[in-house]
């Protein structure tokens, strides 16, 4: 501790350089943690999905809907115990700057299919009874300050027009990976305005045994193979994993960019430390003359590097942890539950320690090995 003022004084020697180096490290760790969190969030979403639910979508593309008539045919497939459906609405609220997902759903069957959405019973009943009713996640309530009973008007983009909904319920997910920022309303409300265009976007089925999911999926897809709307069926887990795998290359790219940034900052940080040491050759020689041992000098330089790296890490990781909450990033359904995990924070900490050692070890070694007589001769 008694050497701390010496370390702090040395860090304050070139304040701007120190601040810029700390900022670089903070930015690197922020990017590293944020980019890694995209991957962990996608994986967590996949893990949280139920293996007992399977999803059928149009095999051509996710955005092409399926006929309504499929509902009964799917219900009759062996092992299928429940069927529901949903549509992507794609509306805009207010200035549209804050994106969130809206789904037109078959209310009773959908809520039965997803017990993970917790809704007070009286709110649930109110939602089921009213055609223009909507239920929203508590995240949206926080974001927009909505209340139960409030009318909310959105502009349709896929289905043009002004759409007014009455909020009748607020749901809370049992797991944050399900997200608390979706908006759900009656499929019929959408259908009655656009009867010629609206059919289910995808079907969700519950099966009685997760082990038969591949067989059931094959049966369904075989059934519709030669129809005008062939299907692609998989478990919800596989659907989520498939959604995540769409990001697969992006994930690789992100982790590559993250590591590249960290490596670049390592070079910046090491260069700053070496510049510091070069400028202090005489001082190190004097300190050795005073009685500082090689080991002590090594420790002081490493401590300086560690102070820079760890301060940067605390700022960067802290920002990565706080920013999603403060800015609401991840709201809107694409990356529900986006948050820096303990694992990512720990990996970030390890990266910071490696950064500290790697950036400090060479200048520290140079300082420790500095021949005093030659250094003093250069100075004198």
């Amino acid at each position: 501790m008694k050497f701390l003022p010496l370390v702090i004084a040395n860090l304050g020697r070139h304040k701007l350089r120190t601040i810029l180096t700390i900022t670089s490290v903070a930015l690197a760790l922020f990017l590293f943690a944020s980019l890694r969190t995209v991957g962990t969030t996608l994986d967590a979403g996949s893990q949280a999905s139920s293996a007992q639910r399977i999803i059928t979508q149009n095999s051509t593309a996710f955005v092409i809907p399926l006929p309504m008539s499929y509902a009964n045919r799917l219900a009759s497939v062996p092992h299928v115990t429940e069927v529901t459906w949903a549509n992507w609405f794609g509306g805009k609220y207010g200035d549209g700057k804050k994106f969130f997902a809206q789904f037109a759903v078959d209310p009773a069957s959908y809520l039965k299919m997803y017990p993970e959405f917790l809704i007070p019973e009286e709110q649930k009943q109110a939602f089921l009874k009213e055609r223009s009713a909507a239920i929203v996640g508590e995240g949206l309530i926080r974001a927009f300050g909505w209340k139960v009973g409030q009318n909310v008007t959105m502009q349709g983009t896929i289905f043009p027009g002004d759409w007014t909904f009455t909020i009748r319920g607020i749901y809370r997910p049992t797991l944050k990976e399900y997200g608390d920022d979706s908006f759900m309303f009656h499929y019929d409300y959408l259908y009655e305005k656009y009867p010629d265009r609206v059919t289910p976007g995808w079907y969700i089925m519950k099966i009685d045994d997760p082990n038969v999911a591949p067989q059931v999926a094959k049966t369904i897809d075989d059934q519709f193979r030669n129809s005008s709307a062939p299907t692609k069926t998989g478990t919800e887990k596989a659907f989520a994993a498939g959604f995540a795998s769409m990001w697969g290359n992006v994930k690789l790219l992100m982790s590559t960019i993250g590591m590249a940034v960290v490596f670049a900052i390592l070079l910046v940080s090491a260069n700053a430390m070496m510049m510091n040491q070069r400028e202090r050759t005489a001082e190190v020689a004097v300190m050795k003359t005073v009685g500082f041992s090689d080991r002590r000098i090594f420790g002081l330089v490493i401590t300086e590097a560690a102070t820079i790296a760890l301060t940067g890490a605390i700022l960067g990781l802290g920002a990565a942890i706080l920013l999603p909450t403060v800015t609401g990033f991840g709201d809107g359904g694409f990356l529900p539950g986006f948050h820096v995990t303990t694992g990512t924070a720990l990996v970030g900490g390890v990266v910071a320690v490696v950064l500290a050692i790697a950036s400090g070890i060479f200048p520290a070694w140079q300082a420790a090995r500095l021949p005093v007589v030659q250094a003093l001769r250069r100075v004198e």
């Binding site: 003022p5 004097v286 050795k288 005093v372």
Partner: protein, 229 residues
């Protein structure tokens, strides 16, 4: 009684392909409490002698003993520890750490001891008081004159109460008045505090303050006076 004993020391440097001999069998003693000025032209080996005595450099052969400790055979970590307790070193260009205040610069050698914070502060204040800079504790080197900087450097050299003070051209960058102040301070340290002083200088006036003046030329002792043998 001899504090510093130099016995049959050979020292040579490699300069490119050539070997330059600085000392070829130098033997000399420096008595405890003595004040010796080392004079001679550049390259005569004055500073090398200080470096050997301080353990900053090793002789090619021979032994250097200070207060009974054989400096020339100590390991680097032993030397660092020994220097912190035994040697005070003052340079021509002061070599204060610019980011530290006068007080912090003087305290530097005490960081290597087990003294408490208060004891360190007391001893630092005492050392700065001895050199007449009690009112400059919080000044940074850039806020001090050359003479004041050198006095802070001397305070740093004496704060750990070393047996031996080594000075390499301590007045080389000072004006006449500041030089006189520094030399008077060294005289006091020798007379009042019984510090053994070895000072390299080109300045004959500075050498006049010493009790012994040695002239070195090409590593050979040409003239000697006083207690040195």
């Amino acid at each position: 009684m001899a504090l510093v004993e130099i016995r049959d020391v050979f020292k040579s440097f490699k300069r490119e392909a050539q070997t330059v001999d600085v000392y070829t069998g130098l033997t000399i003693d420096f008595e405890e409490g003595s004040y010796t000025a080392l004079m001679g032209p550049s390259g005569s080996g004055k500073s090398t002698l200080l470096n050997l005595v301080a353990g900053l450099d090793k002789p090619t052969s021979g032994t250097v003993t200070v207060g009974g400790a054989t400096v020339s055979s100590m390991s680097p970590s032993q030397l660092a520890d020994w220097r912190a307790r035994t040697i005070g070193f003052v340079f021509q260009s002061y070599n204060l750490l610019p980011v530290l205040t006068a007080q912090q610069n003087v305290e530097l050698p005490l960081l290597l001891t087990n003294l408490s914070r208060k004891e360190r502060a007391d001893r630092t204040a005492l050392a700065l008081g001895v050199v007449g800079l009690s009112d400059r504790l919080d000044h940074y080197p850039r806020q001090l004159s050359g003479g004041q900087e050198q006095r802070v450097a001397i305070a740093r050299a004496i704060v750990a109460d070393p047996t031996l003070i080594l000075l390499d051209e301590p007045t080389g960058q000072l004006d006449a008045k500041s030089s006189e102040e520094v030399l008077e301070l060294l005289r006091r340290l020798n007379k009042e505090f019984r510090k053994t002083i070895m000072m390299v200088t080109h300045d004959a006036k500075a050498a006049d303050h010493a009790s012994t003046v040695l002239h070195l030329e090409k590593g050979v002792l040409l003239e000697r006076a006083g207690v040195a043998t």
